[in-house]
């Protein structure tokens, strides 16, 4: 028992150190973003700003606003379409199992393990051919394509928890494929849609590789613009950090207010079917 009495404070010290390790970068970002540039020096590093200076936020906001809007134009349709497709696939693959359904599902899952980089060049070539290169719709399309495996997986696991008896009795009452989907599955899917939408929103908002290779200048989503913010001679760290916070704000807010669903999505996506 002596051991556990000793280990308790030790445990708390460890947990506090851990919190510091995980939260310190956020603190650094926040503190730096609120300082004027001449206070961003080594000796002032830790200190809270003497006066709250929001000028870096207005500079960053001004520069990033068009890209911030681009990101919304990208994320909203991409999330909706990939969620709908995922729901349809999940419904068929969990409630209308046919011969080969499981093989098909495994094949779709396989898509999650393919590193995107390897299909990037043919993808860009295709987008050029159809005139969608360097456009937001092109980027929406790419995200729908690569969102399918995860949304299908999440919905399939979600629908697996809807009892088959419900479907059976609806069938006996004469409801068909579409009616069951419309009147039984969809009304029960609201949580599923929230979970998948949050997941997709966060991932697409944060995505960088496709964004940086498929769009240039005016079409760029926020993350690419943020990365380009450091382009000038002197790096204005305060503006940089303010921009980083602005760019991270939508997903941070989603996490703070709907974190429960985010965690649900994570678990639904990690449990292999």
């Amino acid at each position: 028992m002596a051991l556990s009495r000793l280990s308790k404070p030790l445990l708390y010290v460890l947990l506090i150190a851990l919190c510091l390790f995980f939260l310190m970068p956020i603190y650094v970002m926040l503190v730096t973003s609120l300082k004027p540039l001449d206070q961003v020096t080594l000796s002032e590093m830790w200190k809270l700003p003497t006066v709250l200076d929001f000028s870096s936020y207005s500079t960053a906001f001004e520069k990033l606003l068009p890209n911030l809007l681009n990101s919304f134009y990208l994320v909203i349709p991409a999330t909706v379409i990939s969620a709908l497709l995922g729901s349809l696939n999940g419904y068929v693959l969990s409630k209308w199992k046919f011969k080969g359904a499981d093989i098909l599902f495994t094949l779709i899952l396989f898509g999650m393990f393919i590193p995107y980089q390897s299909i990037l060049i043919p993808m860009i070539q295709f987008l050029r051919d159809v005139g969608l290169y360097n456009t937001i719709p092109g980027l929406v399309f790419v995200h729908v394509v690569y969102g399918i495996p995860i949304t299908t997986l999440m919905f399939r696991n979600f629908y697996a928890s809807i009892p088959d008896e419900m479907i059976e009795s609806a069938k006996i009452d004469g409801a068909g494929f579409l009616r069951i989907f419309r009147y039984i599955i969809l009304p029960l899917s609201i949580t599923g849609f929230v979970v998948v939408a949050i997941w997709q929103f966060t991932n697409i908002w944060n995505e960088f590789l496709f964004a940086v290779t498929i769009t240039t200048s005016e079409q760029q989503p926020i993350m690419v613009a943020l990365q380009n913010l450091s382009g000038s001679q002197i790096v204005q760290w305060n503006v940089q950090m303010a921009g980083a916070l602005l760019a991270a704000l939508p997903t941070l807010l989603v996490y703070i207010f709907l974190g429960k669903y985010f965690v649900k999505g994570l678990l639904a996506g990690s449990v292999k079917g």
């Binding site: 650094v28 990037l120 060049i121 908002w205 990690s270």
Partner: protein, 291 residues
């Protein structure tokens, strides 16, 4: 019988968009990429067929092997960093107390941050003159330990690994906690009766119960690290002198910086091959351990 035919029609119709998209934009491009690898091509204009030249060049390319090695460092850092830390934390934070929930949220939070934001913050913290890391070392009197974290080729691969570990411990922690909470309480009670406590219980009861989850996490970890690109791209761009080049950044630099699309495609194909081999090996190893 009319109804079953109708039903079949619906099933096909529902899956068709996915099947088409998936075949033409995920499966076919892998082969398309391999095919582009046979050409000398700048992305625009005519491509010249050069046979295996690109592939031979890749195999002889020192920087390709260095990138591969760096990728393995990231994989090792993830598998041996993220997985054990996440597991230990999950054991510590398993109970749903207020403090635990707070710590869990803190650990999980980086997960929702964009990798670009993560790269920027850590790039700033590693800054040799105004970075927090060197500042902390100095104020602790460890002046001799201060480094140019991202530009010293001896250590910069390890410097870039830390933000990646920091970024992704959260999800694994959550997965482990869910698995631990799913262990039936009867089993824990039985273990207690048998006198299994502490490490003994961990080794003989807890770990075997969640072993399947551990396997899934390791596979996810390997697959995730093969995709690593963003943080390194933002922090170092693969430099200096290509010392932090990863397969993905190397492919990016060849394709979009020097416009060697054919060579980039050949590297892409190598990435697919390496990934498939690794995933396969990890699956086989896991199966054997299970028996």
């Amino acid at each position: 019988m009319g109804t079953t035919a109708r039903l079949k029609g619906f099933i096909i119709l529902a899956l068709l968009p996915t099947l088409l998209i998936y075949t033409f934009f995920v499966i076919v491009p892998i082969f398309w990429s391999a095919y582009y690898g046979f050409f000398d091509w700048s992305g625009m204009g005519d491509a010249k067929f050069t046979g295996l030249a690109n592939y031979i060049e890749v195999i002889k390319d020192e920087i390709f092997w260095r990138s591969l090695k760096n990728n393995f460092i990231i994989i090792a850092a993830s598998v041996f960093g993220q997985v054990p830390i996440a597991l230990v934390l999950a054991l510590l934070l398993m109970k749903n107390s207020f403090v635990n929930r707070f710590v869990r949220s803190a650990v999980f939070m980086p997960m929702v941050l964009s990798t670009v934001v993560v790269g920027l913050i850590w790039g700033y913290m590693y800054h040799p003159q105004i970075g927090v890391v060197n500042y902390v070392l100095k104020s602790l009197g460890l002046e001799s330990l201060t480094r140019a974290w991202l530009s010293d080729p001896k250590i910069n691969m390890f410097s870039v690994s830390i933000p990646i570990i920091w970024n992704y411990i959260g999800p694994y922690l959550i997965i482990f906690i869910a698995a631990l909470q799913n262990i039936p309480s009867e089993i824990n009670d039985a273990a207690k009766l048998e006198g299994a406590v502490g490490f003994k219980k961990l080794y003989y009861v807890t770990l075997p119960m969640i072993w399947n989850t551990v396997k899934v996490v390791i596979v996810l970890c390997i697959a995730g690290s093969l995709k690593a690109f963003d943080q390194v791209f933002v922090m170092t761009g693969g430099g200096p002198a290509q010392s932090t080049e990863l397969l993905a950044t190397y492919m990016y630099n060849n394709t979009f910086e020097v416009y060697r699309y054919g060579y980039g495609s050949a590297i892409s194909t190598m990435i697919v091959i390496v990934s498939m081999i690794l995933i396969l090996i990890s699956q086989i190893l896991m199966k054997r351990k299970n028996q």
